[in-house]
């Protein structure tokens, strides 16, 4: 395995719930991210999947320091990002960047494309001398597959897929080492998604990037990710390589999640192992004690309420899973029962 460039340990983000009109009291916390730990290696794509409320978007914001973390550490090449001074953190922006989900709100409508992609150079003038910037912007537009002649156009003159490319060009401008992609293709048409995914993969090869790829579309993540972390209610419940997670999942939630994803093959109708979960996701302000998934889990026993399962490698499997009764179960491929 290549070197570890990002080490996240016990990262926590709680949002206080406040009431009161004049003087606000804190009555509770939304535990959006609750002790998340993982490593990111060079040139690796780590996929983070989960459904709404699992905390993956909050995780992205905290890693980018757009929201201050409540506790925990994020070490980039050995140095804790959360403990850096403001000036150091600004310099760090050159190494960790962000691509966002919505191509229609992620670009300032009153700036030209050239200004948008060139802004990183204005904020960090030490990266490129003034005379060079225009040229660099054109190069970036070319690299992401846009026509450099369009440098003076405005975002609303581009399609959704093209706008997403502009966002990628902007993230790439400072030659970061890590790019956090927060649902980068979810808002795009199916045929355009493929173009953007291919682009991201090419850029990874060409520039040696590492990605943290956050998405809810499990098929997309399967395609692009090397390793995958599955999140539920603020915690990582299972983490492993893509084939470990997709072909040999051990955590019940991962299994339920995968079994719910439809595969574009009608001959698999009724052939796959179907797990349908009951009920709704509990509120992150008041998560269940012990294992958070136990209220919807068919394997739940008493121990699940009293002892929170740690994310460790369990017997009969090679990758960490946070379940007392972790067991491999293939839900993606056809089983021979029907």
């Amino acid at each position: 395995m290549s070197e570890v460039i990002l080490e996240v340990r016990d990262l926590v983000k709680y949002f206080p719930i406040r009431t009161g009109v004049v003087f606000k009291r804190t009555v509770g916390h939304i535990k959006a991210v609750d002790k998340v730990s993982f490593d990111l290696h060079k040139r690796e794509t780590l996929g983070v999947v989960g459904e709404s409320g699992c905390g993956k978007s909050t995780l992205a914001k905290v890693l980018m320091n757009l929201e201050p973390a409540t506790s925990g550490s994020v070490r980039y090449r050995g140095k804790d990002v959360l403990k850096m001074s403001a000036a150091e953190q600004r310099r760090l922006r050159r190494n960790i960047q962000l691509v966002m989900q919505d191509p229609y709100t992620s670009l300032n409508p009153r700036m030209t494309v050239g200004d948008i992609v060139g802004e990183p150079f204005e904020i960090h003038p030490e990266v490129a001398p003034k005379g060079d910037r225009r040229k660099k912007v054109r190069e970036l537009l070319d690299v992401v597959g846009l026509n450099p002649e369009h440098i003076n156009r405005y975002p609303h003159q581009f399609s959704g897929g093209q706008r997403q490319r502009i966002g990628i060009a902007r993230a790439l401008a400072l030659r970061p080492e890590i790019i956090i992609c927060d649902e980068p293709v979810s808002a795009l048409d199916v045929s355009i998604q493929a173009q953007v995914i291919n682009l991201l993969e090419e850029l990874q090869d060409e520039f040696g990037l590492s990605y943290i790829f956050i998405a809810h579309d499990l098929s997309v993540v399967r395609h692009i990710a090397d390793r995958v972390a599955v999140m539920y209610l603020g915690k990582i419940v299972e983490i492993g390589t893509d084939s470990e997670i997709y072909d040999r999942p051990t955590h019940p939630y991962t299994q339920a999640l995968l079994s719910a994803v439809p595969v574009p093959d009608p001959t698999l109708r009724g052939q796959r192992d179907q797990i349908v979960l009951e009920g709704d996701v509990p509120s992150p302000a008041n998560p269940p004690s012990g294992c958070r998934f136990r209220t919807r889990c068919w394997k739940a026993k008493d121990i699940c309420a009293t002892e929170e399962p740690a994310l460790v490698v369990r017997e009969k499997s090679e990758h960490p899973s946070a379940c007392h009764f972790a067991e491999v179960r293939d839900v993606v491929h056809a089983t021979s029962t029907n």
């Binding site: 395609h223 574009p264 349908v276």
Partner: protein, 344 residues
């Protein structure tokens, strides 16, 4: 003042008339007249649906799939939309030839529709029970108490736990999946024979999506309804559809049974689409893409609308619009080279 018609059949229809299909759309044409020009959003769409059948209308943005549904329901804003040709026959009667009142009666009792975003389809200032009860009050002449009772029964049918208590709740108090169920309950209140679902699960989590699709399949079976599912999700379609109509630039480019379509697509667009999606059970190398962008509906390319993006395009594709032709096996395709694709 029109009397409330208990059966919901428009008075203009002859009682007991026979018809080929429960719902039939024939050569529908819809234009949008904008300040920038006339956009030909639907250019001759034909499809049909029978009771107990699930038809999937598959397409991406700009294909015209949603506009087709809205035209069937009669909820297009006109202006800027204008229906310029074709017929929409429900149980043999052409909806486009009906007057407003007759058309309104078909809506809800004959054909109902559910949408992608339940939160904006439901009125936030009324309880869900009230909104459903209103339907019974207005259309069936029930009292408010009876209406609320029926509303609770419906919420139970769509498997909302504690339906009696939830009847008094407001839309924002439900989670996304539950709201979708409420919307389904409202749509089914008057026992429609056709249900149109426009991207019903696109905004939902995948586990909730599975629940909702299962619910729809069950309800469809129980009531022997026809279901039109409008979507871009090839996975969902593979799971639930019986037949599929693929739309591109306002036309049907291919229509086939679900097994046939996935095994052997007979139109380059369908083929390219299937090749470009990542699959859960395979890790691919590079996704095949469809080059270019969807067409500008103000200026649809001459000949076959897909030809600028088609890897198989020949000279004839630029000149001649390929008609929707029948192929062996009871399927159709609008491509000059459909036979070759079908044979391979």
């Amino acid at each position: 003042m029109t009397d409330l018609l208990v059966t919901g059949e428009p008075a203009s229809q002859a009682a007991g008339a026979s018809y080929a299909h429960l719902l039939e759309v024939e050569d529908l044409r819809v234009e949008f007249r904008t300040l920038d020009g006339v956009a030909k959003v639907i250019n001759g769409v034909s499809l049909h649906l029978d009771a107990g059948e699930t038809l999937a209308v598959l397409g991406e943005s700009g294909s015209g799939k949603s506009v087709t549904a809205q035209a069937i329901m009669g909820i297009l804003d006109s202006p800027p939309a204008f229906i310029t040709g074709g017929a929409i026959r429900f149980k043999g009667s052409d909806l486009l030839k009906m007057n407003r009142e007759e058309r309104r009666l078909v809506r809800g009792e004959g054909i109902a529709m559910i949408f992608q975003d339940a939160l904006s389809a439901l009125n936030p200032v009324f309880t869900v029970g009230f909104q459903i009860a209103e339907l019974f009050r207005k259309r069936r002449g029930m009292s408010r108490a009876d209406g609320m009772r029926r509303a609770a029964e419906l919420l139970d049918q769509v498997r909302i736990p504690n339906a009696k208590g939830r009847v008094k709740a407001y839309p924002h108090e439900f989670s996304g999946g539950m709201r979708q169920r409420v919307m389904i309950a409202m749509a089914l209140a008057l026992d429609p024979e056709v249900l149109i679902a426009d991207e019903p699960t696109t905004a939902l989590d995948v586990t909730v999506q599975a629940q909702i699709m299962e619910l729809l399949a069950e309800l469809r079976r129980e009531r022997n309804m026809g279901l039109i599912l409008i979507t871009h999700d090839l996975g969902v379609v593979a799971d639930v559809a019986d037949r599929i109509s693929v739309m591109y630039a306002g036309r049907i480019v291919e229509e086939a049974g679900v097994y046939d379509l996935y095994r052997k697509p007979s139109h380059p667009y369908t083929l390219a689409l299937l090749n470009s999606i990542p699959r859960l059970d395979l890790k691919g190398q590079r996704l095949n893409t469809i080059k270019g962008l969807p067409p500008n509906l103000l200026r649809i390319p001459p000949g076959c609308a897909f030809h600028p993006r088609c890897s198989m395009a020949q000279e004839i594709c630029q000149r001649e619009l390929p008609p929707l032709r029948e192929l062996p096996g009871g399927r159709t395709s609008a491509c000059h080279f459909a036979e070759e694709l079908n044979r391979e």
